[in-house]
């Protein structure tokens, strides 16, 4: 099929309102995707990007999901929706053959019943009765495109975040859809992983696939788009070619990250590491480290389900001392063991060799819940960290034991205010928040405890510009109070702008960058 004859997708959304909501999640949005083009929909947290993506891909359907007024046009066939019971019904399986979607949470794309990456890739083809020989070829081709060739026999449950995202993209493109909608495809990917996805997207565009990129960053890939649509509070505030929109007020107001614009301190001295934001405490040599790792080694059992088999070394002889008020960034490729390292700080994982000391005391044998009084850990996936019924209860969990009943709620509210979530405190369930707000809520739950050691696992992922600014202020304030901060991040420019020292974890060892 040539590019000229391939599907074009046009959407006009007068209003889309979720059931039970009074305000539309999207209104007055139009989008047109031509074959082989790259279109970027840019917007901050909660701007409606994911809702738009799911609506275009029929993951959200008029009727079951909400009331839709507008039209969707695919390949010249237009479906009009009036929010009425006799509106056309879309078959999601048929629609997704043409318009595929990769959600922000890549894991939710997977079937969970397939034993290997190869079988997970083939799952959608099996359901479409593709002959086995064709499936084998398609799996091989898709794996090569997404950089999964070496992982085909792995259990999808054991993949790292970046590998999982590549698998989700692979599952979406294996059926060769005409349109591909990607929701934050670069989140939590290391440089190599991002480069592979970029290459894949370029390749798809070159073969005529129309790609829609939903992103809160006007990053390198978005810069290659032919057309930008800026989404703010559920509506389009600007649209045009990137050159017109870069630096525009609409982009700024929407909270879109523009690398280089966000971090004036980093941009001010191009090519040079910026000065650390604050000196790490007075007389550092005399201060006892807030956190110290001595010769820490760790390995996972190869058969993790049974806890048996030889151990795969992840950390080797790691020494690390973080002084109060010091901010340390740890970088490294996907799967290097950065999250594993952080989980040693509060005892969620125990070293097989060496010792971890918090405020001068070894935490060996001390329950995690007790260590938690001194160590706050922000998980890589905020959803793993949130479990309460309301935002306020979430932030207040465990504070009573530390500060007493009277003070606990005040501290929770103060922490929520610090990350801009005061409005959501009482009535909103954490699962209803956008991904960016979920991360900020998780951060608030950690900050409210005022720990001596703050461990942040990929804190910047999924945050828009407003969120990043809040994160930056919170980390600086914590360090100023004398908290020892260790953050794991792929975002080297953020690390340079924020941290006093940058370490790289590679091959299980830490070294200064």
């Amino acid at each position: 099929m040539t590019a000229a004859t391939r599907t074009a997708l046009r959407a006009r959304i007068d209003a889309f309102t979720f059931h039970g909501e009074s305000r539309p999640a999207l209104r007055d949005v139009t989008l047109s995707v031509t074959p082989g083009s790259l279109t970027a929909v840019l917007g901050g947290s909660g701007s409606g990007k994911s809702t738009l993506g799911k609506l275009l891909a029929a993951w959200l359907r008029a009727g079951p999901a909400g009331e839709f007024r507008g039209s969707l046009e695919l390949d010249g066939t237009r479906l009009d929706f009036h929010g009425a019971p006799d509106d056309p019904r879309i078959n999601p399986a048929e629609w997704s053959r043409r318009v595929a979607f990769v959600p922000q949470d890549a894991a939710s794309m997977l079937s969970t019943v397939r034993a290997t990456v190869a079988e997970e890739l083939a799952f959608g083809l099996e359901l479409r009765a593709t002959p086995r020989a064709d499936m084998l070829r398609a799996v091989e081709r898709t794996a090569a495109r997404t950089g999964l060739s070496g992982l085909l026999d792995r259990d999808p449950a054991t993949l790292s975040g970046g590998e999982l995202r590549r698998l989700a993209v692979g599952c979406a493109v294996i059926a060769e859809p005409d349109m591909l909608i990607l929701d934050e495809p670069m989140a939590s990917l290391d440089a190599a992983g991002s480069a592979r996805i970029e290459e894949l997207i370029r390749g798809l565009c070159a073969t005529g696939t129309g790609v829609v990129l939903l992103s809160q960053a006007a990053d390198r890939l978005a810069g290659e788009a032919m057309h930008w649509t800026v989404l703010d509070a559920g509506t389009v505030t600007a649209a045009g070619v990137p050159a017109q929109l870069i630096g525009s007020a609409a982009l700024e107001h929407a909270g879109v990250l523009v690398p280089g614009v966000l971090r004036p301190e980093a941009a001010a001295v191009p090519g040079q590491a910026p000065a650390p934001p604050a000196a790490p405490g007075p007389g550092p040599a005399r201060l006892e480290p807030g956190l110290e790792l001595r010769g820490v080694g760790f390995g996972y059992s190869q058969d993790q389900r049974r806890g048996t088999g030889p151990r795969q070394r992840v950390l080797r002889d790691v020494d690390l001392a973080v002084r109060p008020g010091e901010i340390i960034a740890v970088t490294g490729p996907n799967g290097a063991g950065k999250s594993t390292l952080l989980r040693h700080f509060n005892g969620l994982l125990r070293p097989t060799e060496g010792d971890v000391q918090v405020c001068g005391r070894s935490i060996a044998g001390v329950p995690v819940g007790t260590v938690a009084a001194s160590v706050g850990l922000l998980f890589q996936h905020p959803r793993d960290q949130l479990f309460e019924r309301t935002v306020l209860r979430e932030a207040a969990f465990g504070l009573r034991q530390l500060f007493g009943k009277a003070e606990a709620e005040d501290r929770a509210r103060a922490a929520l205010a610090g990350v801009g979530l005061s409005a959501a405190a009482g009535a909103v369930h954490p699962a209803e928040l956008s991904a960016s707000q979920q991360r900020l809520l998780a951060l608030a739950t950690v900050l409210a405890r005022e720990p001596a050691v703050l461990a942040l696992d990929e804190p910047t992922v999924g945050l828009d510009r407003h969120g990043l600014e809040r994160l930056g202020r919170a980390v600086e304030a914590a360090a100023a109070r004398g908290t020892a901060v260790v953050m794991v991040t792929h975002d080297l420019s953020y690390a340079r702008a924020t941290a006093h020292r940058i370490l790289e974890l590679d091959g299980g060892c830490l070294r200064e960058l």
């Binding site: 399986a93 048929e94 995690v368 938690a372």
Partner: protein, 252 residues
């Protein structure tokens, strides 16, 4: 290289062993089958899981058998001990032993099968036999649900511990912690199910029509022959049992 069993071969072997053991009704055979299952479980590295699951099922069963038949067996006349209406009779104990060992053998055989079968192979084999793929998916989900729930529970526990919940080794401490984890667990699983349903629908899960299978499960002729033989043997055992225990005088 170890022999790779087709899931149907393993299932047939387990089912026929259970049928033959039940039909034979001989406690030495039941004990032998039980021991053989335990040995195989050790060799396959699943002994811990098989035996602990078996204990959960069998210990209450043995206790109830002892009470029911060991103490109150009306046909028993060789009284070994008596406390009022309760009499321990040799016949009662023998009956409890028969029934207990037979059930234990069947439970062990099926547990061994369920802990060693490759679920993906089973699902693939089922779909190759034109069993509706939804059935295979539900079966696979059921078998993968427990690890998924355990994984989610573990993450909730870690999140709570990270925020100061102290869980000590004691039973009460663990039970108390579990109570706090239940609501988040159910909500999280429902949330997961909702988003996964959208993805599954989009990948064509709900659409009717034929399916194919990427996974190729080898079914060598020898294993097919074995399955046929096992069926014949099991049928013969049942027939023999019927003939032996048919009431004297035969059918009228």
């Amino acid at each position: 290289m170890t022999l790779r069993l087709h899931p149907f071969t393993a299932l047939t072997a387990a089912a026929c062993t259970a049928v033959i053991t039940t039909a034979a009704a001989s406690w030495p055979l039941s004990v032998a089958v039980g021991l053989a299952s335990a040995v195989l479980a050790v060799r396959r590295g699943v002994a811990g899981r098989v035996l602990s699951a078996a204990a959960v099922i069998l210990v209450p069963l043995f206790l109830s058998l002892l009470v029911l038949h060991g103490l109150f067996f009306p046909e028993g006349h060789t009284v070994l001990a008596a406390w009022g209406p309760a009499r321990v009779t040799a016949e009662g104990l023998r009956f409890a032993l028969e029934l207990g060992t037979r059930t234990a053998a069947c439970v062990l055989v099926f547990l061994l099968f369920s802990f060693t079968v490759s679920v993906p192979d089973l699902v693939s084999a089922l779909s190759a036999r034109r069993i509706p793929p939804q059935f295979g998916f539900v079966l696979a989900s059921t078998l993968t649900l427990l690890p998924a729930v355990a994984g989610r529970l573990e993450r909730i526990r870690q999140a709570q511990e990270t925020r100061g919940m102290v869980i000590r080794g004691g039973l009460w401490s663990r039970a108390g912690a579990l109570r706090l984890q239940m609501i988040p667990l159910v909500l999280a699983l429902m949330d997961d199910a909702g988003s996964r349903a959208q993805a599954l629908e989009a990948r064509g899960f709900g659409s009717p029509g034929p399916r194919t299978s990427y996974r190729d499960v080898a079914d060598p002729p020898a294993q097919r022959l074995f399955r046929a033989a096992a069926f014949v043997l099991a049928a013969a055992a049942v027939a023999a049992r019927l003939v032996v225990s048919w009431p004297a005088g035969g059918p009228s």
